[in-house]
Amino acid sequence: MTEPFLIGDAMTGGYGKGPDILTNCTIAVNPGEIAVIVGPNGAGKSTAMKAVFGMLNVRSGSVRLDGEDITALSPQDRVIKGMGFVPQVRNIFPSMTVEENLEMGAFIRTDNIRDTMDQIYTLFPILRDKRHQAAGELSGGQRQQVAVGRALMTKPKVLMLDEPTAGVSPIVMDELFDRIIEVSRTGIPILMVEQNARQALEIADRAYVLVQGTNAHTGTGKELLANPDVRRSFLGG
């Protein structure tokens, strides 16, 4: 088996000096793929993603990006290495305009960001219409698009989304999923945590079911949807 593009390999760790939340947890994603992490509340889904992004003390195991060991890097350094992260909450600059949000996303870049911005406006046409409006005045779904757009401004090699559909209506949720698939089609590997397990598994090329901070089931989205254990334990039969 070849090494995946991004892998959090057998990670064990917790926040600060606190107890371990993850035990021997492995998460990986490849270009062109959408990998989702699902699981019951408190299973450590977000924690696993934060571990991959370096916001957690990983006491054993490692995180590798494109073959390079990045376990010791800070989240900021990982952004420079090409990881884009969209936090679950507080993921935009509310008093700044949509365009300024995108500009700030590209803060570490010194080249011309115009093309990337145009690409993002093509991907999320609503943002072009609202580009001079304060991001905090937008609807929940539009804000999430700003947040994803901001993360894409660095031209990341991998995009990580922490519950992108939390708190938006079902219709908006469908639209967001469509957008995420579109982003994935541009070749960027996407790793995301999702509450809406069924929908997430439907679009997943690779899926991880976490229970109590460790891998319970792994497979493609379809495999897991068909798996009776997974269905019984939290898809509701």
């Binding site: 952004v79 600059f93 700044m96 803060f107 570490i108």
Partner: protein, 336 residues
């Protein structure tokens, strides 16, 4: 003609001084609001930073005057201002390095930083009084009036005069320039935008690769410049006395909070709200009223709502009303 005289008296005693005082408060409040928005604490040392900057500027003014350098019709202090700002910037950055940075690294709660800033306030207070003394210093020179009372009367033939002092005109002009430069910086430059981003959402700013120490440094530089400008303008307009500057803290904080802490536009609006409230409440309206009402109704008393000795009560009252009914201020700011 009477109505015209009333208008002139009103402009002379309320509008002009209120506008000048408002501009001074606005620049002061802008500094307070920037610190609150970006470093996330109420800087009690701001009044004394103004005093320090003004003192530095006065020393340079005296030095220039000693060498025979003046600025023609404008006050020499204007020439000394950039040097005063430079000294204050160095002082403030040094304070950040030895005091505030320690607490920032420990991620101290805002309330601790407020107390720390009070300590800094006492130290600055002492330094200023030790260096220049506690007495009044009048350092305005150059032409005293843009329009003097006599010229205005000769020109218009009215009974009432409108006098505009050079320092008042200067205050308004400088304030407009400062505010325009400030907003241009915050809205148009990369560094300015990164400061707003940092103020909006610190964690996301870090994720976007914005360097917090750089943001903090630029903030202090701007705040030192704003404080010095506000202090020098106030000192030119009235006079420089360290204790008065310490007292200015109240109207400045009231202005920043009324406008909405952390909101630069609010700080400016708040400055004028406080200044005009203070001036209108403490002004003796007898003259203006006598002009507009029939003779039989002319007031006998001064029609002064509050003695000028109590002018701080005005900012205090406004502060309390705002905190009770609209804690986020007139513009969208953070609540205290």
């Amino acid at each position: 003609m009477d109505f015209l005289n009333a208008l002139v008296a009103f402009t002379n005693f309320v509008v002009v001084p209120g506008a000048a005082y408002g501009a001074q408060l606005a620049i002061g409040a802008l500094g307070v609001t920037l610190i609150y928005g970006i470093l996330r604490f109420s800087n009690f040392a701001h009044g004394d930073t103004m005093a320090f900057g003004t003192m530095a500027t006065i020393f340079f003014t005296w030095w220039f005057q000693g060498m025979g350098i003046t600025f023609g019709v404008l006050p020499t202090a204007l020439l000394a201002l950039p040097f005063g700002i430079a000294v204050t910037v160095v002082f403030v950055l040094a304070t950040d390095r030895v005091v505030y940075r320690f607490y920032r690294e420990k991620k101290a709660a805002p309330v601790i930083l407020v107390i720390v800033s009070m300590g800094v306030m006492f130290v600055m207070n002492g330094i200023v009084r030790f260096a220049i003394g506690v007495a009044d210093q009048n350092f305005a020179d150059g032409e005293r009036f843009i329009i003097s009372a006599r010229t205005f009367k000769d020109l218009t033939g009215l009974d009432e005069a409108l006098a505009i002092r050079t320092t008042q005109g200067l205050t308004i002009v400088v304030a407009v320039l400062v505010v325009v430069a400030m907003f241009w910086f915050l809205n148009r430059t990369r560094t300015g935008k990164s400061m707003r981003a940092f103020s909006d959402n610190e964690d996301l700013a870090l994720l976007s690769g914005i360097n917090p120490e750089q943001v903090v440094r630029v903030t202090w530089i701007i705040v030192a410049a704003l404080a010095t400008i506000a202090g020098v303008l106030y000192g030119l307009d009235k006079s420089f006395k360290p204790f008065t500057y310490f007292q200015l803290l109240l109207p400045i904080f009231a202005a920043a909070i009324v406008g909405g802490l952390g909101n630069p536009l609010g700080a400016i609006a708040g400055g004028f709200v406080i200044a005009f409230s203070e001036v209108t409440v403490t002004y003796a309206w007898k003259k203006v009223i006598t002009y507009v009402v029939p003779d039989s109704m002319a007031p006998e008393g001064l029609v002064q709502l509050l003695s000028t000795d109590y002018k701080f009560a005005v900012s205090f009252t406004i502060l309390i009303i705002v905190l009770l009914f609209k804690p986020t201020g007139l513009f969208k700011g953070q609540s205290v």
